[in-house]
Structures are given as structure tokens and as C-alpha cells.
């Protein structure tokens, strides 16, 4: 076993993996609504402009663009044209969840390769008004092909349906209870109540979750995220350029991009199916970051569903395998707990973005300036109270290190460790 470890191609200690050399310097978003009233091009343009302004840069300072979509967004050239950006590099990729962190890694790679110097990453979606990822707004009229016969032909089409067997098997394998998992929604709703941007900002109880109507067992309505319309963006640049930006940078320590389980085309063939891609991704994430899960002070574990948060926290090593139910119901993940998760309210409450809003939140946490309702002084600085009661503060005190875990399917995921810069 020792020999096997030594043979690893990913050297955890070498600076060649660019730990600490790049940073997220700007974040921006539109509101999270159900009825934006505008096109995805408008949403993308507004979010990108906001992120560039937040970084203290001008559009002309950005020369790289990346975006992701499920054929439901605008393109980088469209947004570039709207803002007068002339990219030296752009790429619009296919994909939803797990894209954000992977694209942060690609941004580092293309800057390192000399292809451009500063990259904006965006996602624009009318996830409620136009294309609903849950499938409820889209009529599929094409004929059932061979592959589709065994999925859509069996009434297996939405994300909740596709993941349900993985979630159910976890309950069977480990005795995880509906009440434990419901705590994910409860805690994220508490966080959202301190986030004026959140689409759902009312606190809910375990009973509220379990008495909401069943969508696909084991998922009740409140186990599922809230599809919204939004534009979101990040700006990534080198640590040298970050020094000239407006805010304390969120310095990138480690990235994993769409790391896969065996047989990712049919992940449920390779078991145990209650183990997800994070089990493999963690062996890149933590060594490259040079930290362990215990060092992390806040997590952003993707909450398309309550279960996705739990499964990833478990497989990335925040608790023992099988003890995710205990972990998410223990209070550790609550503001004021040892390691809060999704302090913005995440996908379950703030809004569904396919992951990028959870990275935005952690960047703001690391700046020690989340946009809660705490009073702003005459000097423009927000004075955080660290009173996490409803409608109050959501800033974590003295936070230095965060982790994001993006979920594509049980079969693949991405991750990102960020540290507060100087």
C-alpha cells in the first residue's frame, strides 16, 4: 500500500500544482427570481459586468471567458460583445452541476499556458421561466431511441428520478433516516433567512419537509432545490494581478474537475451505489490543497437535493462513510456550528444555479463581508454582529478556509478549496 501511495501521479506537495498562485477576485449575480422578464443574454451580461466591477476591473481588463450550460444559456461572444470585451480565449461548455469548480481549474490552466490573463466564468439561466432542469417546463417530443427506451421509456427523466435509487440505497445500507436528511433543508433555510437575496427566505422545520408532498421517494418537495432565473459570474486571475483588485482575494488552493466513478455512463452498475464521485475526488482535493477536511471552516456541498449535500460531505471525508445522516443533523453544518454548509441557503433556498452561487458565497465569506442584513457604517463597511438568529448575520467569524463540492451525478463531481488571501 505504501508503494502504491508513493506511485501517485498527483504530487500533493509540489508547487507545480499552482497552489496559492491564482485567485477568485470578483463575484457578481443578478437577483434569483421566478420570472426574470429578460433573456439569458441580459442575465449573463449583467452578472459578468457586476463581477468585473466587483473585482475593481474594467471589461477591457478581462480577456478570457468560460461559461457552462445545458443548451439553455447565452454565449460568451454575445456577452463579450455587449460589454466590449475582446477575448483572447473563450469556451462555452456543456454541463450543469460540477461545472463551476472544473472551469476554475480550466481558467488557471489557460492563464498558465499564456493564452489569456484574466478569465470571467459565468452561468445564465431562465431556470424557471424557460428551460427547467427538473423537466417540468419542457415537453420532449422526440421519439424514444434505444438508450432512451431504458430511461425516458421507463419514466426516468428528471434528476430526482435518476438519483433516487442512489439515495434510497444509502438509507438501506446505513440506516439513514428521512428526519436526518430533512435537516439539510432546515439548516439551509435558516441560513437563507439571513440572506436578503434568497428566493425562499422562510425558515422551515423537519415536519415541514416531511409533510411536503412526495415527488419521488425518498424526495419530498422540500428535499428538492428551487429552480430560478439568474445570472452569476466569477473572475479568476493570477495572485499578482489580484493584488491590484478591490477586495481580499479568495486564493485557490486546489481544484478537482468532473472526477468520475468507475463506469460513469452507468454509475449504478459499479458499487456500492451509495458511494459517489467525491470518494475519488477527495484523493486529489486534499493532498493538492495541503489540508484535511478538519481544517475547513465552511463547506459548499451542492444541494440540488438534501441527499446530495449529505452524500458528498460523507465521501469527501467530513465524517465517516455512512455517518452522513448524523453529520447533517448534528448542528455542525449550521451557522454557529463547527463547519457551516451553504451559508447563503444554497440551491434549496437561495436559488438553483448549478453550483456557482455556492462558490460566490464562500468568496464573500473569505472576504469577511457577506451581504447579510447587518448594519453598514458611514465608512461603507458592514459591521457583522455574528448573531445568527432569523434576519440577522450570516458571516462566519475569522474564516480562513472553505471547500466547495459540485455534483453532476452520483458518477461525477468537482471540488475547490479556497483560502483567504492577504
Amino acid at each position: 500500500m505504501e508503494g502504491k501511495q508513493a506511485d501517485r501521479e498527483i504530487d500533493s506537495t509540489s508547487p507545480k500544482h499552482l497552489r496559492g498562485k491564482y485567485a477568485v477576485v470578483g463575484v457578481g449575480e443578478t437577483g434569483y427570481t421566478r420570472g426574470s422578464g429578460v433573456s439569458t443574454r441580459v442575465l449573463g451580461t449583467r452578472a459578468v459586468r457586476a463581477a468585473i466591477e466587483d473585482a475593481g476591473l474594467k471589461p477591457a481588463d478581462v480577456d478570457g471567458m468560460l461559461s457552462y450550460s445545458l443548451n439553455d444559456s447565452t454565449s460568451s461572444p454575445a456577452v463579450a460583445g455587449d460589454l466590449g470585451i475582446r477575448p483572447n480565449f473563450y469556451m462555452d461548455v456543456n454541463g450543469g452541476g460540477s461545472s463551476t469548480e472544473a472551469l476554475v481549474g480550466i481558467a488557471i490552466g489557460v492563464i498558465e499556458a499564456g493564452m489569456c490573463s484574466t478569465v470571467v466564468i459565468f452561468r445564465a439561466m431562465n431556470g424557471f421561466s424557460q428551460v427547467r432542469t427538473g423537466g417540468t417546463g419542457r415537453r420532449r417530443r422526440s421519439a424514444l431511441s434505444g438508450d432512451a427506451l431504458l430511461s425516458r421509456g421507463g419514466g426516468l427523466s428528471s434528476a430526482g428520478q435518476m438519483f433516487s435509487q442512489t439515495f434510497m440505497r444509502h438509507m438501506y445500507d446505513y440506516g439513514t433516516t428521512p428526519e436526518q436528511v430533512a435537516h439539510v433543508k432546515v439548516i439551509h433555510s435558516e441560513h437563507a433567512s439571513n440572506n436578503p437575496k434568497a428566493y425562499y427566505n422562510q425558515r422551515v422545520s423537519v415536519d415541514d419537509v416531511l409533510s411536503s408532498r412526495m415527488i419521488v421517494k425518498p424526495l419530498h418537495l422540500l428535499d428538492c432545490c428551487v429552480e430560478t432565473d439568474n445570472g452569476t459570474a466569477l473572475v479568476v486571475t493570477s495572485i499578482d494581478r489580484a493584488k491590484d483588485c478591490k477586495h481580499t482575494p479568495a486564493v485557490i488552493q486546489s481544484v478537482v474537475g468532473r472526477c468520475m466513478k468507475p463506469r460513469p455512463d452507468n454509475h449504478y452498475q459499479s458499487g456500492p451505489i451509495s458511494t459517489v464521485a467525491g470518494h475519488w475526488a477527495k484523493d486529489i482535493l486534499w493532498p493538492n490543497a495541503g489540508v484535511s477536511p478538519q481544517d475547513i471552516q465552511a463547506t459548499g456541498s451542492y444541494d440540488a437535493f438534501t441527499f446530495t449535500t449529505m452524500l458528498q460531505l460523507e465521501d469527501y471525508g467530513f465524517c465517516k462513510k455512512g455517518e452522513g445522516g448524523d453529520y447533517v443533523s448534528s448542528g455542525v453544518t449550521r451557522l454557529g456550528g463547527a463547519r457551516p454548509n451553504n451559508t447563503s441557503g444554497g440551491h434549496l433556498c437561495e436559488g438553483y444555479t448549478h453550483g456557482i452561487n455556492m462558490v460566490i458565497e464562500n468568496v464573500r465569506q473569505l472576504r469577511h463581508d457577506v451581504d447579510d442584513s447587518c448594519p453598514v457604517d458611514l465608512d461603507g463597511k458592514r459591521k457583522h454582529t455574528f448573531d445568527y438568529s432569523e434576519g440577522g448575520c450570516r458571516q462566519i467569524k475569522d474564516i480562513e478556509l472553505t471547500a466547495n463540492m459540485g455534483w453532476g451525478t452520483p458518477g461525477f463531481g468537482s471540488a475547490l478549496v479556497l483560502a483567504r488571501g492577504a
Binding site: 421519439a143 435509487q165 451505489i273
Partner: protein, 172 residues
Amino acid sequence: MALEGEYLGMPVYVDDLDQANQAFFRHCGQHELRVQECTSCGYKRVPPTTACPFCAEENSTWVAVSGKGTVYSYGEVHHAIQREFREHTPYLLLLVELDEQRDEPNEYDGLRFQANLAMADGALAPPEMVQSVGIGTRVRVVFKDIGTDIAMPLWTVDEDAVQPEPWRYPIE
């Protein structure tokens, strides 16, 4: 020749270039459950794929399997997304593990089918049957003809098997 049909009001079209699915569904049309077996390493695989996930060999033969298995996991749909399924809720999204090749070639691997619970005639299962099935239930394959030469594989409770008490989601 493309395989054409209709299932629950949805048109079905399996292109003749999609040779793996053509072969699989033509066998289903004969009411035979056959899966690919690699000519190199000898491992079977489902669903139909282009090459062997265990050794990358392209060549395979279609071998008959027993069509009996155990429910490995499931989802139970109460809110249908596809309109064709709305009148059939609740319906089960079964993950059925065949008796063949369990825990091979790796521990926890298996030949697993995603498909619906049905009655013996292939019609989707009524609520009473849905509520009787869970992880551990012994099931057998049935076929629903959906066109000339093509049928849908579905699973029904195996009447001849000794049934264990199934594990079900704790809230009914």
C-alpha cells in the same frame, strides 16, 4: 432496418446504426432477455454498450440470462414529469440486480437493469403491487410488445420465489 413502435403513447425509433440497442431490443421482441458477453474477458454487461467496460474489447456475443433478480434499489414516483406517466403514479423506478455475475469482476459490481415494476402482462403495476415491493424483492422479467419485433423489458414480482420481507422507505 430501424425498429419502430409506440409505448405509452410515445413513438419509438431505434436507428439501424445503433446496433447494440437494435440487437438488445430485437431479442426482447422475441421475449428473450439476452445481454452482451465479451469475447475476450468473458464478462457480461448491461445495458448495451459499444465495448467492454472491463477490457475495452469491441466484440461480444448475445447470451441468454435467467431473467431473475433482486430489487437492489428503487425510487417511487408520485409526481410524474412526463405526461405519459401521470396516469400511472405511483410507479416504481426499479434497479434490478440479475442473479448472474453478482460481485464480479469487482465487489459490489452487478448486472443491473433500470426499469419499471409491471404486472405479468407488462402493464405498469397498480398501487397495491407498488406498495408490496422494496429492496430485496425477488422479481422476474416480463415483456410488453411495443411494435413488430420489439418489446419493452419490465419486471414483475416472481410468484414462484420465496419472498423476503422487502425493505421500504419508512414513510408510506
